[in-house]
């Protein structure tokens, strides 16, 4: 079963969609999930929700019958972050759909977390529908144990003058598949996606990020930085597509993959499509290890190789963690990075 296919046919030819998930992945054992908590009062719980485009055909069947289906109408400004917390300590299977409608001129922050200390299965579908002049800042953290499978599909629509800042932190498990699609339909709108991941052991990470710019004078960013340890592998498929009429718009796509092990494998397909003359688009993609010179310098200041490596890695990751608005959460992320890297025994 092939999943998370790009919108671009050429990718099939180059095997970038070679990512295959075992057939039995999509068989949730338990249809009850009672680890959900929130500080938001207006959550509407639905029995069923049908997503627009699932991550693969099989996941659609599941998402038609989720065990958590939420709808949030954000009609006023919120100064404190709205928290949606999914804790797998009591259940191991979560199939969730979250639809968030942001009304005209509303400003809000979201913190969505998925945490598990044991094997878990997560298949989630999140949509943000941002109306005019809205301003959303969302931090999403997937902190599932190594044996977990994580499927995350995010789709957004941005109307005039709206802004969406999305930060995804993925401590990937055995399988982590993410899809992020934003249609910037309005003029003067801005969609920024920043994402960090750390792959370990035999983990597979598949990222499929696309931003379609239809509106004039709009902005799109895809910035992904991650590290691969052990035998982990990552497929990155990114697209910034300037549609006809998207004049004066700007799009930036940056991908950096740090390979911390000789067996790690990184594939990248950073696409840039342009159907409008008056735009400014750029993309860059880089893969490599942490520089020996940088590491040597840090070690000459008295740090061990492992400490130096972690320090340099965190320095790189800072670029995508800037927008994490909660300092406590940010320091927890850095602590987790420390633990993840030090556990990589084939290096030290």
């Amino acid at each position: 079963m092939e999943i998370n296919e790009t919108f671009v046919r050429t990718s099939k030819n180059y095997g970038i969609n070679s990512f295959v998930v075992a057939e039995n992945t999509f068989s949730p054992k338990n249809k009850i999930f009672n680890g959900f908590s929130t500080n938001f009062n207006g959550v509407v719980l639905h029995g069923k929700a049908i997503p627009i485009s699932p991550i693969c055909t099989d996941s659609k069947i599941e998402l038609e019958n989720p065990n958590i289906s939420l709808e949030l109408n954000i009609e006023k400004n919120y100064t404190s972050p709205i928290i949606l917390n999914f804790d797998f300590s009591q259940n191991d299977t979560l199939v969730d759909t979250i639809k968030i409608n942001v009304k005209d001129g509303v400003t809000a922050k979201f913190l969505i977390t998925y945490t598990s200390n044991k094997n878990a299965y997560h298949n989630g579908f999140i949509t943000f529908d941002c109306e005019k002049n809205s301003n959303i800042d969302c931090v999403l953290i997937c902190d599932l144990s190594y044996e977990s499978d994580n499927f995350l599909n995010i789709e957004n629509t941005l109307k005039e003058n709206s802004k969406l800042k999305f930060t995804i932190v993925d401590f990937a498990g055995k399988t982590s598949v993410s899809r992020f699609l934003t249609d910037i339909t309005g003029n003067n709108a801005s969609s920024q996606l920043k994402m960090m991941y750390i792959g370990e052991k035999e983990g597979k990470i598949d990222l499929n990020f696309a931003q379609n710019i239809y509106g004039k004078n709009s902005y799109a960013l895809i910035k992904t930085i991650g590290a691969l340890q052990g035998n982990s592998q990552k497929n990155f498929k990114g697209l910034i597509d300037f549609k006809k009429g998207a004049s004066k718009s700007k799009g930036v796509e940056e991908e950096l993959c740090l390979t911390l092990s000789k067996n790690a494998k990184s594939k990248a397909l950073p696409l840039l499509c342009c159907g409008e003359e008056d735009v400014d688009g750029s993309h860059s993609s880089a893969t490599g290890k942490i520089g020996d010179k940088e590491l040597f310098y840090i070690m000459s200041r008295g740090l061990s190789r492992a400490e130096g490596l972690k320090l340099l890695l965190k320095a790189k990751l800072t670029k995508v963690l800037d927008d994490v608005f909660d300092e406590k959460i940010k320091s927890q992320i850095y602590e987790k990075i420390d633990r993840k890297i030090i556990n990589e025994d084939d290096r030290f």
Binding site: K12, K262, A268, V279, H283, T287
Partner: protein
């Protein structure tokens, strides 16, 4: 800034037609009989016919690519795969029939030969009509001949290398090529021989509704070096013409090869060419490519850096105008240790043209301490055109430095304003910026070709901006 749209230039210096005269033109279509007939006309050995027939089988098995430009208008039943011009191959320019001679004279081939080429080959439709090489090179053991003669005169050398770089089942159009190939060049540069002057082959397709399937095979032996130039053009007809050539390059230990192409096929041409190089230890192959013509191009030269310390550079520009879909790019596979590749690609699209950069960088686990840097820029001259960048990067080792950068956009208004403030008209300012944009490619070419390329850019720009 206001634009004055002018009609696309319907003619340029390459678009002159000779009457469709030939000694023999194969019936249209593709069949076993036709393949056998081509082989018979060429009086080929059986081993070559066997390769042709095997390729035909592969052609029938393989399907069209599922990606890239739409090739539905290509109907092999409407294409004649072999057209023999009304002359044999000549070694004396004066012996070439006037009509064909005039064609190449208009294209500047003999003047170039006199001035700065070490050898020249000229192919008209399916056969090479003129081939020459400077005497001193023959004494050094350099072989530069048309491919048909090489099959006859150097069968062991041809057998050793033919299909070994580009296998006959790599894709549908390479299978087609091997089934009906005709003409092309064969070059062998012996160990340690360094050619100071380039060799050039020029390919001209005059006959309408026909295909050109030339095969170029170059072997640069240990420590040798060569600059090879390839030029292509054709007059414009209303029906589709097909070019499915193949270039196989072998660069042995510490050898150097520069392969330059200026392609200006007519805008009814489907250019489905395949080019590949294998670099042994310490060898280097540099590609310089200018794609201006054709209706559809699918052209992705490839370097396989097999030996340790081998290198490759690709510098390319494509210029897609009205009705053109140029899908070009570069592929590199790093196999050996300490290998390096440097890719610089530029594309310009205007008047509804589609320019796509499609590439592959593959660094295998064995290619430790390798470096790869890719840079591609797209320039759009209006908002009805399209410019896409589709790079695939497959990195399988940690001990590597890889970076890819791409930009797309229009001509900077600030730059135009600056140039206009220095006294240039808006048109001249834009043309100067576009020429500057193409400069990384033209500076890699010999001076005469750089001038030629700038002239092509000026021709293409006329009617596009202003």
């Amino acid at each position: 800034m206001a634009k004055t749209k002018l009609e696309e230039l319907s003619t340029n210096i390459y678009n002159f037609k000779n009457p469709d005269k030939y000694e023999y033109k194969m019936a249209k279509g593709l069949s076993r009989d036709i393949v056998e007939e081509i082989s018979k006309k060429k009086n080929e050995p059986k081993w070559m016919l066997d390769i042709r027939l095997k390729a035909l089988d592969e052609y029938e098995k393989l399907s069209l690519p599922t990606w890239g430009p739409d090739l539905s208008e290509l109907n092999m039943d409407e294409i004649s795969t072999y057209v023999r011009p009304k002359t044999d191959m000549k070694e004396n320019w004066e012996d070439v029939p006037d009509e064909i001679k005039n064609t190449f004279e208009k294209l500047g081939i003999p003047q170039a030969e006199r001035k700065y080429l070490a050898g020249v080959g000229a192919q008209y439709d399916s056969e090479v009509v003129y081939h020459s090489i400077k005497g001193e090179l023959l004494k050094k053991g350099v072989i530069y001949t048309d491919f048909d003669s090489a099959v006859r005169d150097y069968p062991e050398l041809v057998k050793e290398y033919f299909t070994k770089c580009v296998p006959l089942n790599e894709h549908k159009f390479i299978a087609l090529h091997y089934a009906v190939w005709s003409g092309g060049s064969f070059v062998y540069i012996p160990k340690g021989v360094k050619l100071e002057m380039p060799l050039q082959s020029y390919f001209r397709l005059n006959s309408p509704e026909s295909g050109q399937f030339e095969h170029t095979l170059i072997i640069v032996d240990e420590g040798a070096s060569l600059h090879f130039i390839e030029g292509c053009s054709a007059p414009k007809y209303n029906k589709v013409n097909l070019h499915a050539g193949c270039v196989e390059l072998f660069v042995k230990d510490n050898g150097y090869l520069r392969y330059s192409t200026i392609e200006n096929w007519s805008k009814n041409m489907l250019n489905l060419n395949t080019k590949k190089a294998i670099c042994e230890q310490g060898a280097q192959v540099d590609w310089v490519s200018g794609s201006f013509g054709s209706k559809i191009s699918m052209l992705y030269p490839m370097s396989i850096l097999k030996g340790d310390n081998s290198k490759t550079e690709y510098t390319g520009i494509s210029f897609a105008g009205q009705g053109q879909n140029l899908d070009t790019g570069f592929k590199v596979v790093h196999v050996g240790k300490n290998t390096s590749s440097l890719v610089s690609s530029r594309s310009i699209s205007k008047n509804g043209g589609v320019a796509t950069y499609r590439s592959l960088v593959k660094i295998l686990p064995s290619a430790t301490n390798s470096k790869c840097s890719v840079n591609c820029d797209g320039l759009m001259l209006d908002s009805i055109s399209k410019s896409d960048t589709l790079p695939v990067n497959d990195i399988q080792t940690d001990d590597v430095e890889f970076s890819h950068e791409a930009k797309v956009g229009k001509i900077s208004e600030k730059a135009i304003f600056y140039l206009m403030s220095r006294g240039l008209s808006e048109d001249d300012a834009k043309a100067m910026i576009v020429r500057g944009f193409a400069n990384p490619v033209s500076k890699e070419l010999p001076l005469e070709y750089a001038v030629e390329m700038n002239r092509l850019i000026n021709l293409e720009l006329e009617g596009a901006i202003g």
